[in-house]
Symmetry: C2
Subunit: 457 residues, 2 copies
């Protein structure tokens, strides 16, 4: 948070505490709903929240409400009178209402629906039916649409009349009588056209659409590729059922990146910001993978124990143990570099199914090149540095470097194949590939090391 905002928060708190409500309102009118929501979350006691919320200027109330975290939303709703709840819900866009409802317990949901208009209730219920990660779940039904035979002037009149309650007015949709989407027209096109021109003549007929069940991540990618402000969502019959606006796409992009990063780090993803997560929920998110990885390390212990007796009879067998962490660590890092790169490339659409062979070949060459370089440097290090504190023969140095080379190549291939296989099996590459990869690479490089060492030395 910047200094400036911090000063505003202090003023706000001062006005609130000293009951200078007129000053408070003037200050609030100059603030962004997002910042007011953060103020409520971070600076107020639970019992102050409702009191503060009631002081918000009417036109800000629902905008602020939408930005508040769900626990406080729930408390507020429970404390609202029916009239207050109705006012807040009425002013919200339907996609925001749906987002809030999805976080609430059943009795609160009932109250929200009871205090919505019949028309809105119907739309909310239909939006609630879309699966969690679908385009349908992030769309709103509040868009502007015309028929193709409307003139620009009439279209502007319609916008003036209904625009206030639409999530965006800048992209308008042209539909036929059966609500089939037949074109889009922007306010820019309309402003630049003659007022008697027909919408049919200035609309763009080739429209990129999303389907209701499309993955919301794919929808967000369309925004980043095509630079849209809004994208129409159509059902199987090509009828317009809603729109997704760019602000929701931005949220999806941020959330999905965070989720992928969490999954790659073996953490169960959470949509809540870090500071809002309880210690218990952080524990729950981190424990499963950590336990699984710890238990799967049984394999490495098994292998080491198995080879131990044999390694004892090998020249310098004990010395070789000292390089196990280096070998496993480097192989793990090498594999991780590849898997993370591929996972991200798949996520942002840079790599597609048809590229699989290209990717594998590319990674093979990179692996050979990287493996060779690292192995050569390692050989030099073994002969020049490690010999200072350990009895390392030329033969041992060769074995260690050769195994390092082989481990890196193996690790990079595993790191490249796992996410691709996951994608083919319709599993989440980020989950399957990254944490599992380490275990697989650890085991393989250990077996490689022990067996080669025993065979050669």
């Amino acid at each position: 948070m910047n200094e400036e905002l911090h000063a505003v928060y202090e003023k706000l708190y001062y006005f609130f505490e000293t009951r200078k409500y007129a000053d408070l309102r003037i200050l609030l009118l100059d603030m962004e709903p997002f910042d007011i929501a953060r103020f409520i979350e971070d600076n107020l006691e639970e019992k102050e929240e409702l009191k503060f919320f009631r002081l918000l200027p009417k036109e800000l109330a629902s905008d602020v409400f939408v930005e508040i975290e769900s626990d406080i939303q729930e408390n507020l709703i429970k404390a609202f009178t029916d009239k207050e709840l109705r006012e807040v819900v009425d002013d919200m866009f339907l996609d925001d209402t749906v987002d809030i409802i999805e976080e609430m317990p059943a009795n609160v949901v009932k109250r929200i629906l009871k205090n919505s208009s019949p028309e809105n209730r119907k739309q909310i219920n239909s939006l609630l039916e879309y699966p969690d990660d679908s385009a349908g779940s992030i769309m709103t039904t509040e868009y502007v649409s015309f028929s193709a035979s409307t003139t620009v002037e009439t279209a502007f009149e319609k916008i003036r009349k209904t625009g206030l309650n639409k999530e965006t007015i800048y992209t308008c949709y042209v539909t036929d009588r059966k609500k089939h989407l037949i074109g889009v027209v922007t306010v820019k096109d309309m402003l630049l056209a003659d007022k008697n021109e027909l919408i049919a003549h200035i609309m763009e007929e080739s429209v990129v659409t999303a389907s209701t069940l499309e993955d919301k991540e794919q929808v967000a990618l369309k925004f980043s590729n095509y630079d849209y402000l809004a994208l129409p969502v159509v059902d199987k019959e090509g009828c317009l059922v809603g729109i997704v606006t760019v602000d929701d796409a931005v949220d999806v992009i941020q959330e999905e990146a965070t989720e992928d990063i969490q999954k790659m780090a073996a953490v169960l993803p959470s949509e809540k910001p870090y500071l809002k997560q309880s210690i218990f929920s952080l524990w729950k998110a981190r424990l499963p993978w950590l336990l699984l990885l710890m238990i799967s390390a049984t394999f490495t212990s098994l292998i080491l124990s198995k080879y131990e007796s044999k390694l004892q009879y090998v020249v310098g067998g004990a010395v070789l143990y000292a390089f196990v962490p280096m070998l496993m660590g480097t192989a793990g890092n090498a594999g991780n570099q590849t898997s993370v790169t591929i996972i991200r490339a798949i996520a942002v659409g840079d790599v597609q199914f048809r590229d699989v062979l290209r990717v594998i070949l590319k990674e093979l060459f990179v692996a050979l090149l990287v493996g060779l370089t690292v192995a050569v440097v390692c050989f030099g290090k073994l002969m020049l540095i490690d010999r200072l504190y350990n009895d390392i023969t030329l033969k041992m140095a060769i074995v260690v470097s050769a195994v390092l080379f082989a481990s890196i190549v193996m690790a990079k291939l595993v790191g490249c194949l796992l996410p691709i296989l996951a994608k083919i099996c319709k599993l989440d590459p980020a989950v399957v590939a990254s944490p599992f990869m380490t275990t697989i690479v650890d085991v393989l490089s250990l077996i490689l090391y022990c067996s080669i060492a025993i065979a050669v030395l």
Copy 2:
């Protein structure tokens, strides 16, 4: 890529090869510039590119050009006549021109500037002076502005006259005579207002702005927090110098997430999509950290060698070796969970300077909880499973579990402190914390293990 687009690409290629240029143009008019650019990159030979580009409908040419990757852009510019270059450059938005120029060699830059209008040349030169990661570097100077005394009607006239060449018309800016930014007004507000209303009466005076030198990542965060379509950029005197539009913010958000993911995986970040990166550049991006991590693993070898002689005299000393990979692996994973979580929380603005103490305390509690759980499970596993293939005494199991507990707590604290320290030292948390963390955690957990084992057993 979806099936549909694939079919379009095949048609496109067929029309191009069989010289059905009229059909080709009709098809192109229905396509998105982004998709046409991908077609040129993936399906055409180098010598076909110019020929194909010349077939593009005039109104699409510069939109497509902007989306093409820079190597092909360079080839095209070199092959363009002066007239062609002028037409393409004239139709581009200035921020896109600047992006392209930044990737080009000096002689190509000269040609581009020579073929720009004097006014544009001046603006391009001033945009080029902003540092690479600043708001200035992603802004454009093509915005709509009025004085406060303009009426809505006159404002619309101005938009009609100049709007075609503006990057956005939906958010307009109100400035005084000295170009100080005094308000914003949206086309929506203007449409809903009376045509004789003064802009002064409907404009929003409290404006969130970015400063020219502000980090572009911070600017992108403002978009995701405040749901803007455009953000004004002001200089130190508060004069409006440009705007950043939401499509550029989306690109920044995607790029920064990819960069952070690459850095966390010990890869030098690259802006190029995976398939466009050469094998050599992938090698260059992955080698430095891999080498550094390999060499820094010398410490673990050193420690293991040092304790080896002592461990030999300990009961079951050889058996203890078998658990080194499990201990180091689990500690590494535990630390990674924390560091990645904190790095991302800092990046998306969820964690700020003033939260440092809260974060450390929280991580300490989570670490104790997670460490305890994992250690207990590990103890059970040692006594029930590992005893089947190894001679494990109760004392040994206690030592291994206790060290595991201590390692996890230590790893999580390191994983939490490193990114915070990096941020305080104005270093990049993603670079400093993640790859370094593993080495630090490895070394510390090994020392812990060896010294405790020798002391107790």
